[in-house]
């Protein structure tokens, strides 16, 4: 997984929760630009993408990821404080959103639910 957020505390807590509770391997990025590089090189199973970031924000990053054949098929989940307005113009590769603040202990199960990983 790849967690993208410009707030270090959010990156850290999401990484810890997904690794220690969820048993995943987690990479992090602090910007849309870093997200694009890491996603192209590492091909994560899913990207948890902050919406409001300086520079290239979440929706702009999503469009750039979709335009790159190396990353166009990687599912995206938005991490956002906003309501569902950000989802209204999103393509199917955006599987949903997790609202901030979030409950770290539930993060893995929320991701699994949005991706349909739960049996």
């Amino acid at each position: 997984m790849l967690v993208v957020d410009d707030d270090a505390s959010i990156r850290e807590v999401a990484q810890a929760a997904l690794e220690l509770v969820g048993g995943c391997t987690v990479l992090t990025a602090g910007s849309g630009e870093e997200c694009r590089r890491t996603a192209a090189e590492e091909r994560p199973d899913v990207i948890l993408l902050d919406v409001m970031m300086p520079g290239t924000d979440g929706p702009a990053t999503q469009r750039l990821l979709s335009d790159d054949e190396r990353t166009s098929d990687i599912p995206i989940i938005y991490l956002t404080a906003k309501s569902d307005s950000v989802l209204q113009q999103s393509p199917p590769i955006v599987r949903g959103m997790i609202l901030k603040p979030f409950d770290p202990i539930r993060l893995m199960s929320d991701v699994e639910a949005l991706l349909g990983w739960r049996s």
Binding site: D7, A8, I10, V13, L20, A81, I105
Partner: protein, 112 residues
């Protein structure tokens, strides 16, 4: 040697991250104090207003996720205050900042 479950290990890590985040969020609140003083004096440039809005946005997300839920609502109000044209009175923003600072005085609740 005792086995430590993933959740136990996470509990320890969460407490560490939350303590560090509290310091960061207190610093953000202090920066917002300066921004409030300056914007009320008419001395804040548009990019500084936008920076203050982002600070309030980060403060809300971080404090709520990391053990200070009472800071979220007043931080959101400050985020709105620093959105151009919000019309939120200065006194309301001052009260919101006081509420943020009061919420951050306590230790974070990281009970799982």
């Amino acid at each position: 040697m005792a086995l430590v479950s993933g959740q136990d290990a996470f509990s320890v890590e969460l407490a560490r991250i939350a303590a560090a985040a509290r310091h960061s969020n207190l610093s953000r609140a202090e920066q917002l104090r300066h921004a409030l003083d300056r914007v009320q004096d008419g001395g804040l440039e548009p990019e500084q207003v936008e920076r203050a809005r982002r600070l309030a946005h980060q403060l809300a997300g971080s404090s709520g996720t990391l053990g200070h839920p009472a800071a979220v609502s007043p931080a959101r109000l400050l985020e709105s205050y620093f959105t151009p044209g919000s019309g939120i009175p200065d006194a309301t923003a001052d009260e919101a900042l006081a509420a943020v600072l009061a919420a951050l005085q306590g230790q974070p609740d990281t009970t799982l």
